[in-house]
């Protein structure tokens, strides 16, 4: 009987797994609640020499974004104002103005002075180089 029950239970866990996978597939563009969307959506990469953040900032120029790095915290703040162009009537408005602040905590403090950032095609890219101690090293293995 227990075996049967286990089979029964397990079939649900398969369903759960299926749902998790589907959520992962479709989740990216619907995960956030419509009232409080995560903004900006971002990627964080760990390369051997640096941490790289990519963040979506459509319609924003470098003047609209403030970036600060304190030890291991990267903070992106800014505001996007939207005004319909003058003299036009509005048929449809899906884009929204944003005032945002998002902080990324990196796994370790980074070299703040060497950090760079660029904003191109609506994507902000922040490169925060690792400190010398944190960089990956290859250690030679000696034979006895």
């Amino acid at each position: 009987m227990w075996t049967r029950w286990y089979d029964f239970d397990r079939s649900f866990s398969a369903l759960d797994e299926f749902q998790r996978r589907m959520d992962r597939m479709f989740g990216e563009f619907q995960r956030e609640s419509p009232r409080f969307p995560t903004f900006p959506r971002a990627n964080l990469y760990d390369t051997d020499t640096a941490y790289v953040i990519q963040a979506e900032m459509p319609g924003m120029s470098e003047k609209d974004v403030d970036l600060s790095i304190h030890q291991d915290e990267v903070c992106i703040e800014g505001e996007r104002t939207l005004a319909p162009p003058t003299g036009y009537s509005v048929h449809r408005q899906e884009r929204a103005p944003y005032k945002f602040s998002r902080t990324f905590t990196l796994p370790e403090p980074v070299d703040v002075d060497a950090a760079t950032a660029s904003l191109r095609d609506g994507i902000l890219v922040v490169v925060a180089p690792k400190t010398a101690q944190a960089k990956a090293r290859t250690i030679e293995i000696k034979a006895n």
Partner: protein, 132 residues
Amino acid sequence: MVQQSMQKAGPTKDLMKRETTALPLVTVMPLVDIFENDEELLIVAEMPGARRQDLAVKFVNDTLTLTCARTLEKEGSVLLGELHPAEYNRSFVIPRGVDATKITAELKNGVLNVHLPKGEAARPRQIEVKQL
């Protein structure tokens, strides 16, 4: 035998080569604002990461289609992944009266503006009333 039959069916060879571990490309409907004045319709579409060379704006049979494949440079290992390579795609049925030959589009900071100028017939006119 199986190999022979697979060779006959040409396109399946490409399917075999496809990387199964790669993320499937997500199709995204870009958010748009639509404005109008006496001269033109203006469509403003939000496409972060869109590059000019990847963007296609087509006008066929009164339908305007915006498509763009967004690629992202992947570097090192992923600690947080909220963005993926994606394909923007959205179509609009444009009312008659738009002069299709004069449609222009510009891309700035990941936002696409498409200007659809109205033809002469669709522009507002003041009609003079005659005194009889």
